[in-house]
Symmetry: C2
Subunit: 292 residues, 2 copies
């Protein structure tokens, strides 16, 4: 059965050594691993984080974070270099904490969270951006050679990036980079906005699918939205997906007017029972999918 | 049966007098009305637009556009005044072109399209913003008294606004403003991201629902995505909704990497047959819903 885990920021952000006791709570809530946001310099000792997680019975995976200063798609050469350096550092962090996957929008090109509005991109610039990202990812992938670490390219919805929004685009990017250290990750939150057919997207990624995030349409706990989990799990089984599945519930503004739903907020109360129930829901659907 | 129409920008943006011949194409594609983006000053004579639309056999409805310079939720008093002035102008434009609905994110607070990132909003500021929007909408509603024009508040997804994301929030805002010229509009594109249950959201808006937009999860033509139209149409029938339904298909980047999917782009070919098929699909589902 696929390991099921939780993103660190579902509990806390930033996640420092002071948060290590949370690993035991994640484990008690039925989680097999924690997907940690790649710590910024000085935020966290990755070796110590890996040790603390293992001590609690968890392993770690990594979620990379891009911004306009480290962006493989950038028009600014310094930002592109910083983007590759960052991905190399991610490999080192992964090695230190025992993670095998570095996932996320590794190509860069952030929109709303960087305060950047979508604008027109002409064909010449489009080609340049694709070329730059391909070269950047290849350089990062070559750095990962000989390690156990692989990069998982995540398509995001149209408001979070203007580079890669669908499984089909992620597949095209993998084909361009053409390196065994590069694969695809999919997140049902983004898929629900951009894909024609969620199950078909999973089948399309097929053997290149190396990481998965299971989120409701609105990022609430599983079962509180309208994602159809049974067909998703059948598609994962059909694609032969054996990898990790991360839960990232962080819808936390309730129904009050004038609160930023997209902005991360800390939990206001203990949500461990809700997290456990999301894991149970997913375990049940994955189990059933293997029987059909 | 509900009138079915199309947003003007599905064909062209800006929409000026040079685009009046498009009204005949919309009618030939089976549309009953055109939802026109409220023209900016000098862009279009609304009286002439109304006449041209009627001549082609269509009526008009209006989609209002906000920005940081006209924003009822703004910290800047001048932007709030401009926000109310704009809504008043919308009533005049509606009167001139024969529209009865001015819909959209009338409260302001744009995010990604204004290049604004979501940030934390504390409780005092949240209250202030709600108060400002309530007052602004009430002033606009009072201006509409005695006319046939009503304002339809549209919840948008979390990346487009940090003020109102769900039907429940729109209902709360209507309750605060408490004026017969204020109602709710819902758009399945945004609902698919933010609602727990799309049908329940329609039932919740109930008699306050005065406008509706039928869009696929990715804004392609109807049937190319995963929105379940039969239950949506049954919920509309159950809510007694007799109003207009607008189609807004404008997913136009295909599957190329590095193109802004959120950014409006003109059609690259004649899509009239696709638009007609979307209308047929919706007519069929609405008809069936009245039989169940």
């Amino acid at each position: 059965m696929n390991p099921i885990g939780v993103i660190s920021m579902s509990y806390a952000r930033p996640f420092t050594a002071a948060q290590f006791p949370l690993f035991a709570r994640m484990r008690a809530a039925g989680m097999d691993f924690c997907e940690l946001l790649v710590p910024e310099d000085g935020e966290l000792d990755p070796t110590a984080a890996g040790r603390a997680a293992r001590h609690a019975g968890l392993f770690l995976q990594l979620a990379a974070r891009v911004n306009l200063q480290r962006d493989l798609a950038s028009d600014d050469a310094a930002a592109r270099v910083a983007g590759v350096d960052y991905l190399r550092r991610c490999v080192d962090v992964a090695g230190a904490c025992g993670a095998t996957i570095v996932g996320g929008p590794l190509y860069g090109a952030p929109l709303v969270f960087a305060g950047r509005a979508p604008t027109t991109i002409d064909e010449a610039r489009r080609h340049e951006r694709v070329q730059r990202v391909t070269e950047g990812l290849r350089a990062a992938a070559e750095f990962a050679e000989g390690s156990d670490v692989r990069f998982a390219i995540e398509p995001l919805n149209r408001f979070e990036t203007d580079f890669c929004n669908t499984a089909r685009q992620a597949l095209a990017l993998c084909t361009l980079v053409d390196h065994p250290a590069i694969g695809i990750m999919l997140d049902t939150f983004h898929m629900n906005i951009e894909e024609d057919d969620l199950e078909q997207a999973i089948r399309l990624a097929g053997p290149l699918l190396i990481h998965f995030q299971a989120n409701e349409n609105h990022r609430g706990f599983l079962g509180t939205g309208h994602i159809a989990w049974a067909p998703i799990c059948r598609a994962l089984a059909e694609a032969g997906y054996q990898g990790a599945i991360t839960l990232e519930p962080f819808r936390r503004t309730g129904h009050l007017l004038s609160l930023p739903l997209a902005q991360w907020r800390p939990p206001s109360h203990d949500e461990d029972a809700d997290l456990r129930a999301s894991g149970d829901y997913l375990h049940g659907a994955l189990h059933a999918a293997r029987r059909t």
